[in-house]
Symmetry: C2
Subunit: 793 residues, 2 copies
């Protein structure tokens, strides 16, 4: 093996080392006074309690699913052909799950440390507060990216060695088994995202409804029993959930590119593996340049723009990575490549990477426009708040729906452009290029909830107003980055799903077979697929509603039964609220998770790969749309509400907090909460997970439910006819063993028997017989038949 294969895992280790250094730095910072530390302790304890409860459930799931995978991996043969799998896929699966959980753990751990240290830093300066909170985010980003590249790269090397005796099948089998790693990662991601999303919003909505609305105390007030749960939620949902989501995307994208790269036959200096190794190397370099990017995230003084600092860091890491990938592509790939009849050059591959970066950037910018304060969409919602709750809701829904237009056109153009440059490999490598700077993206994303938490701790500890002002400054920027991060996440999920989809088709479908939308069963699959994001969203939204109700009851009970809470004389029982959110989120994540995991299995094994392909296309399109719609509507409602805090002018009149329009905007914000933080972002994982499940089962379902008609079937593999490959009903029978070439080695009688066995038509049989002369000797097909008949050859 060429030594470049070790580059990716090494870069992953570099990322993890830098992460450890930064993590130690965060731990060393001042954690503030005893009161602050106590509050932060509650949050850290609550977050860990959730993680442990989640892991207990997921542990059972991983064991069962792993066992199932191990069993399925032993079914080595289908129709007498080996199918490139092994029980070792279950090991990959378990490692993927553990790595994903570890990434979440690292992020949560550092976030619950960084929050109170950011509060303490904010007592001195904004500059220091940014440094602490962003370093906390960086730890998360590097942890996720480092573990992903190390895991994928390391396991790939291990599997290549394990399967080295398979000869030509070594690489294919290694990659096939590697899909287990991605499946494990994505499964954990689903539960982390959905469970975390339910947790955070149940606590948030519950805390607000009783605390802010009924009791009239401010947000993050220490007297509110749900306030700790609310702060835990930020960590559970926005840190751990988001981290698991991007970990899953990152892994799946690289893997899908590897699967497609493996289909490309090239002569290069890397044993023909350059298209397989390229995505790992680029992503590994992305980690390096993300580290470089973090150096630019710094401000001079209190008046510097935090947003600009983050933008500078983000853009420099993206641009450096793109430049580096130019050289990497040039160095690694041969001049010309070809995948499934599409030919392209190495420069085309580079252009596809550029396309991916541009798509990601546009998606982020558009998301920001639709959700930012002071821009037309949010202003329109503010105006419509003047006429009541209903018009506020209508306004937000309309904004969310409208916000799908440009992202979808961008995505469609991106798909076409990257395919134009480098075929399906182009689509996959575009996604990989976009995901290369995940470490940086995640650092920026995770910085938001840390700052939010820091503000909460400042409020609960009743620190001086300038501290809260500084954390609010960071938090406001965090809201914007959260929105753009969602745009990035959905774009990456969409491209990743397409890459996985392409990889799935390559494995599950015979060459030249199509997923034809105009076939009835494919259309049916498309409809069912399109429906799944709707039921998934409904379940998520309802789960938040139910859990929030439980929370409301508990908070009301505490206010009623524990005297002295409102006078700061008694402490609320924070842990009970934490327990409610934890229990509810674990309970409610089951059903949506089951839908995502089981639907592709049922459809795949009963109806086969073609219908499953329809299902995947439906779920991807509908999921991306619902994801954008819900995330942006929620973000816009949120910022419309926030605008009232500073005061807004509607028709010449100024409105502030507690005005009627503000109350209407609170309604919108509350509706938007589960939209933007639970169901919306869950769409990413839904579409990725269903694709990865399909990819894993692809070898087993190949051939099921094929409805190829006799004519199509017999034209498989170019014009080389395989007579009798279809049975009498036109269904797909054994594809091998009965083509005309075979008859050359048979007696006339044998050939006739073969025709009968395979249910050839009378016409076909007759033509077979004509290939023999009077003495029964094989003479080959008759020329006249060749020209006039459509089935005989």
């Amino acid at each position: 093996m060429h030594s470049i294969i070790y580059l990716a895992p090494i870069l992953g280790i570099v990322g993890l080392i830098v992460m450890a250094i930064k993590s130690a730095w965060v731990s060393k910072q001042d954690a503030g006074d005893a009161n602050m530390q106590e509050l932060a302790g509650y949050i850290a304890k609550g977050a860990m309690a959730f993680l442990k409860a989640e892991w207990k459930v997921l542990g059972i799931f991983v064991v069962f699913a792993g066992a199932l995978l191990a069993y399925s991996g032993t079914i080595h043969e289908v129709n007498g052909k080996p199918i490139h799998s092994s029980w070792i896929i279950s090991i990959a699966f378990v490692i993927g799950a553990v790595f994903s959980a570890t990434a979440g753990y690292i992020g949560m751990k550092v976030a619950t440390k960084a929050n109170v240290r950011t509060t303490q830093a904010a007592r001195t300066s904004l500059k220091q507060a940014l440094k602490v909170s962003f370093t906390g985010g960086t730890v998360m980003g590097l942890g996720v990216a480092g573990l992903a590249v190390l895991g994928l790269g390391g396991l790939f090397i291990v599997f290549l060695n394990i399967f080295s005796d398979l000869g030509a099948d070594t690489v294919k089998t290694a990659i096939e088994v590697l899909t287990g790693f991605s499946l494990g990662a994505e499964s954990i991601a689903l539960f982390a995202r959905v469970g975390g999303g339910i947790y955070t919003k149940a606590a948030d909505v519950g805390a607000d409804l009783v605390g802010k609305v009924e009791a009239g105390i401010p947000e993050d007030d220490v007297r509110n029993p749900a306030t700790i749960a609310d702060n835990v939620g930020d960590n559970v949902g926005d840190v751990a959930g988001m981290g698991a989501d991007l970990f899953g995307s990152y892994v799946a994208t690289i893997l899908a590119t590897m699967v497609l790269g493996q289909e490309i036959t090239v002569q290069d200096n890397f044993g023909g593996m350059s298209p397989i190794l390229l995505p790992m190397v680029i992503c590994g370099l992305g980690i390096l340049f993300s580290i470089v990017g973090t150096w630019f995230v710094r401000i001079k003084d209190e008046k510097s723009s935090v947003q600009n600092a983050l933008n500078l860091g983000n853009w420099s890491s993206i641009i450096l990575t793109v430049i580096a990938s130019y050289f990497v592509v040039n160095f690694m790939l041969p001049e010309n490549l070809s995948l499934r009849n599409v030919e392209f050059t190495k420069m085309d591959v580079f252009f596809a990477i550029v396309v991916g970066s541009v798509v990601g950037a546009i998606m982020s910018i558009v998301t920001e426009y639709y959700t930012a304060m002071g821009k037309a969409p949010v202003l329109s919602i503010i105006r419509q708040s003047a006429t009541g709750h209903a018009t506020n809701i209508i306004g937000g829904l309309a904004v969310g729906m409208k916000s799908t237009v440009i992202p979808i056109i961008t995505l469609a153009a991106g798909i076409m452009a990257s395919y134009y440059f480098a075929g399906l490999y182009g689509v996959a490598i575009a996604a990989a290029g976009m995901m290369a700077t995940t470490a940086m993206q995640l650092a920026i994303d995770a910085f938001g909830p840390i700052a939010d938490n820091a503000g909460g701790i400042a409020e609960m500890s009743q620190l001086p107003p300038e501290v809260r002002e500084r954390t609010d400054n960071l938090d406001a920027v965090g809201n914007t980055t959260a929105a753009t991060g969602k745009g990035f996440a959905i774009a990456s999920a969409a491209l990743t799903s397409l890459a996985l989809f392409a990889a799935f088709v390559g494995i599950a479908m015979p060459e030249n077979q199509h997923i034809d939308i105009y076939k009835a069963n494919v259309l049916a699959g498309l409809f069912i697929g399109g429906m799944i994001p709707f039921i998934f969203s409904a379940l998520c939204i309802q789960a938040v509603g139910k859990a929030a109700m439980d929370m409301v009851e508990e908070v009301r009970r505490q206010f009623r039964e524990i005297p002295g809470i409102m006078e700061y004389k008694a402490k609320p029982e924070y842990e009970k609220c934490v327990a409610i959110s934890t229990k509810a989120s674990i309970r409610e994540m089951m059903m949506p998770g089951a839908i995502a995991l089981i639907t592709p299995l049922i459809v795949g094994f009963i109806f086969g790969p073609e219908v499953l392909g329809g299902l995947l296309a439906g779920v991807t399109v509908s999921g991306v749309l619902m994801g954008i719609f819900q995330s942006n509507a929620g973000g816009a409602w949120d910022n419309a509400k926030k605008s009232f805090e500073k005061g807004v002018e509607i028709n010449g009149e100024m409105f502030y907090k507690k005005s009627e329009p503000h109350k209407a905007s609170v309604t919108g914000d509350t509706v938007g909460d589960p939209f933007k933080d639970t169901s919306g972002p869950s769409m990413n994982i839904l579409i990725k997970l269903m694709s990865i499940v399909s990819l894993v089962i692809a070898p087993y379902i190949s051939g099921i439910g094929s409805t190829a008609t006799e004519k199509e079937c017999c034209m498989k593999d170019g014009a080389k006819t395989e007579m009798g490959c279809c049975d009498k009903d036109g269904a797909h029978a054994e594809m091998s063993g009965c083509d005309m070439d075979k008859c050359a080695d048979m007696t006339k009688e044998e050939c006739a028997a073969m025709c009968d066995k395979n249910g050839c038509s009378a016409e076909q049989r007759e033509k077979c017989m004509k290939m023999y002369d009077k003495d029964g000797k094989y003479i080959g097909p008759v020329a006249s038949d060749t020209n006039t008949d459509s089935t005989a050859n």
Copy 2:
């Protein structure tokens, strides 16, 4: 021509005659006192004012679009082949538009007569009130169905005669030109549905916001300046809009079945036209049995169930039509049929019809469940109203999303089952079977708004409470039938679109070519298509919001500037409110209409039929989902609000009108209004219209943007190879003129020139040359090549 071809138009005329009789009967009924007549006069005048304003705009559109069609129809040849079209398609288009407008006119005219007469009848008995209102609805139903069958059947006969000199192409050309009729009908339907939907909800929301909420006067109060506009809206949206929608579905369904039927080659007693004529005959008989069904719609006394009477009428007409279609199928069709490689018997066709009826019934029942008072979904929204506006909204959105599951599974199963029985013809005839009793469906649908209007007039005329009680009884039933009618409409639109889609593929795509979802550009089309219902919905919802704002301003102005309105001393300026709704709806319907019409043109002519196919699949799936989601969420919110009027129990406490939970439910209802009456139902027409536009342009775009690779391309038409049909880049070159058969008539030099011209590969060229002996004489392909090579033959 066999005389059965005259059956359909004759049955259409029968329907129109019965309609005229029933219409005369309605006119003869007592129209009440002068006050009632005056109010009814305002409504009738307002409704006609809208129709006239709409027609003015649509007239311009029809002239332009007709001219464009006439021009395009003259482009008779593509690649030297006649393409079955003619400028006469523009005549069909104009007639379709005029018929659709006439159907709307008839419905509106009788509805604005029947409303006040129902009020007057309600002064005597419920029985009489039902008779008048339902007869009004029947006039609408028969008018729509009669005009549709007469128009399609009559024009088909005319076109067969006009094109009789085309020989074998006569039928194909006649049907192709007939698509213009459907396009005309569907275009008018779009504007009627969208314009009407905006009108009715702008007036409704505007009237409620100022009247009920600000001024505290009841709904339909004569002092509210917007109340007449509100009642006009019921006629404009729910009568004319719904009528145009179903007229369009009805026509499109029959037409799509005819297009597919024309592809079936049969030996029958009807000149091979039985599969073409079957849908028209069944729909004609459906008119007869709808008339029979109306006889069952009668009640005994005040306590009889109106709903049961309607159900009895509906089910008897459906069952009679299914039974009749058994005999018709048996009589008309030959034993065995085949379409695009799928073989089926005539009984299979009958089973497909049964499938269609069952799908329609299930869709209606499920819709009723999700929107009916007292059922779990509405009760869940009521419960969530207790915790405020936001939870009410969340509850309604979740119910709407969940309500997509069973309808989509039903639809998917229906597609698979009807395809299983009779291929694509089965899908189309299933839709036709479902639509056969459109006259009855529409009678039941149109009865609702008539009863609603009757109640409004009773309220405005301050009639005794028992009158209002009777009209309220009818109105409540009308709300349920409106919901089930929407379920029926969306199911019919979905099946119709699929049938149109299949017909489109047949015309636009060469045989054996596929719309392969996993091609990048098809996927891009799928994404864009999926996004269109989102932007379309957003535009509709926003339009209602804007127009309602205008209405609110005007009503406030009148209350302010016209003294004595509140004391009944001065009359409000009703006509100003009518004018606002009219103007706004006409203005706001342009943009969504343009999207629906222009998108398929752009995509089709630039990217070709394959991408357009992806677009259609995307818009159909997404449109059906959004339609069900929005209609059902709106219906559920509406009935949750209505439940409070009778009082509801939440956690052991009773809540009534004006309670806080009731206010929250009003918010939901207001959000739901544009959902269920504007954007939701518009989805039907959106998906149908885009399909029909695609069908009309199908002949012109065939071949554009084909990316068939060389191998695929050269395998077109079975194994008969067309060498050189692809150029060097594997793109789709001229498909005709260079296949191997042609070389038989060429000299060696000509064949070589052909190979060069078409960019054949060196290998292909060489094989071509081998077909000639030393003297340049054609000897046919060499046998050995036949077996070993995949491109040479």
